[in-house]
């Protein structure tokens, strides 16, 4: 299906995939990342919670989950930077009839490991994991999680009962983790056949038992491919690190104005550096003191520093959602985030200074970034 406008970025250019409540946009720039071109909207009127850039196997494929309020959700793809989209005839992510479940939305699209270039993972609402073995054309559920004994006791969070995060072990194809709101963090060590809740140390403020086996409202988990066993977790109240693939978690909310938040992103080149955007509380859900600040740790959570250069520091009643913070993987890493009020910010110097890339988009729910030709997909 032809799109309204399309980009044509070259090798070394940076692209931002921006999903909003009213469609998707592509932003592109050269490696300097000073000026940006906007293309779109794609999927007019549809919510786009999940996007990904897949550059494995010689592709330049953009994946997007588009959700129509009326007609349901599908995963679409474009191999020409949005000029055309696959527009599948059938709903390509489908629950089996005997599951009793029906797809509400697509929350996460995650290209698989480099050595499995046709594998893509997809997290959905109601919480389930799907996988594709043909680069996103067809999908099947991961039965071990679909039929998990905990499923009847998972509860929807404010955004719905969603599987929103997928973290991979790049060296071990049998191991991966997922996060569910509200279910917590689950890990498989046998390629998805079985899954164990891994939430020891992660609190659930909203339950009488603050430390249940599962039921935590995890908002985002990230890891670095060079040290995949080390996980960082932004919780619904709580900021944590695990050094053992989730077997245990320790509190690392050292010096942040709030340990509530949604978004979290790993530095692409440093396994000790992580970015977050703290939020005031689970009632107000606005950045603390109405100052828009990204926080960064360079010592794996021992300390955090505010990054506010160029960001509004007065009357900024903003919120950044869980998938709206991303890095581009550039040698000097760029970081980008979008707000619920439709502002898109970017930094070409690892967060030291920021500038507004676009100020009047629909509410932003997803930001992903990639360097064209870099060969890997960035979260």
């Amino acid at each position: 299906m032809p799109a309204d406008r399309s980009a044509s970025p070259s090798e070394g250019d940076v692209v931002l995939l921006v999903g909003t409540m009213k469609g998707a946009f592509l932003f592109s720039s050269d490696g300097g990342r000073g000026e940006w071109r906007i293309d779109g909207p794609y999927f007019r009127g549809m919510a786009v919670y999940a996007m990904a850039m897949d550059q494995r196997g010689g592709r330049r494929r953009i994946l997007a989950g588009s959700q129509s309020m009326h007609w349901g959700a599908v995963v679409q793809s474009s191999d020409d930077f949005g000029a055309t989209w696959s527009a599948p005839d059938r709903q390509n992510v489908r629950f089996p009839e005997d599951s009793g479940l029906a797809l509400t939305n697509v929350w996460q699209l995650r290209p698989g490991r480099a050595d499995e270039p046709d594998t893509v993972y997809c997290g959905v609402e109601p919480a389930a994991l799907f996988q594709s073995r043909d680069a996103g054309e067809t999908w099947s559920p991961v039965d071990g999680l679909l039929n998990h004994e905990h499923r009847p006791r998972w509860q929807p969070g404010g955004g719905g009962l969603c599987l929103h995060t997928i973290v991979l072990d790049p060296a071990n194809p049998e191991r991966m983790g997922v996060a569910i709101s509200t279910g917590g963090f689950y890990r498989t060590d046998d390629g998805g056949r079985s899954w164990r809740a891994r939430n020891v140390g992660v609190r659930a403020e909203f339950l009488p038992d603050k430390h249940p086996e599962f039921g935590q409202c995890v908002h985002k988990v990230v890891n670095h491919p060079s040290r995949p066993e080390r996980l960082f977790l932004q919780n619904h109240w709580g900021l944590y690190r695990s050094d053992d693939w989730g077997d245990s978690w320790v509190d690392i909310a050292n010096g942040v104005p709030s340990d509530f938040g949604f978004a979290m992103e790993m530095h692409p080149n440093d396994p000790d550096t992580v970015y977050i955007v703290p939020i005031d509380s689970d009632q107000f859900r606005i950045v603390p003191d109405a100052r828009l600040r990204v926080y960064r740790t360079r010592d794996a959570g021992a300390s955090w520093q505010a990054l506010e250069g160029g960001l509004p520091q007065q009357d900024a009643y903003e919120c950044v959602l869980r998938d709206a913070l991303a890095t581009d993987g550039h040698a000097t890493a760029g970081f980008y985030f979008g707000t619920r009020s439709g502002k898109l910010f970017g930094s070409a110097d690892e967060g030291e200074t920021w500038r507004e890339i676009s100020g009047a988009l629909p509410p932003i729910v997803c930001v992903k970034a990639a360097v064209i030709g870099a060969g890997t997909a960035n979260s």
């Binding site: 007609w71 059938r90 709903q91």
Partner: protein, 93 residues
């Protein structure tokens, strides 16, 4: 007389661009009509019903002008020459 199904613009691409399609008059209920339609234009029916066979929350289906939500749902009877109209609900923001 066959039963006519009137499609909204958003669903016409999944029916070869047709604004209307017809199905066999032997269909007795709306469920039968949609089942027959699925055999030819599955992409249309995917967007009207979820994978559990339920009409989506924000889709309305009318039989000769009456909303099946207030009749017998997918069991609503259709007659020869009936028109089944699929309409997106007034919703959004």
């Amino acid at each position: 007389m066959p039963i006519t199904i009137a499609l909204p613009g958003a669903l016409q691409p999944y029916a070869g661009g047709r604004p209307e399609v017809t199905v066999d008059a032997r269909c007795g209920t709306v469920g039968d009509v949609l089942g027959a339609l699925a055999g030819r234009y599955a992409g249309v029916v995917d967007r009207v019903m979820d994978e559990q066979g339920r009409v989506r929350q924000h889709v309305n289906v009318f039989v000769d002008g009456d909303n099946i939500r207030f009749l017998d749902g997918l069991g609503t009877l259709v007659g020869q020459g009936s028109t089944v109209t699929i309409v997106p609900a007034v919703s959004g923001g």
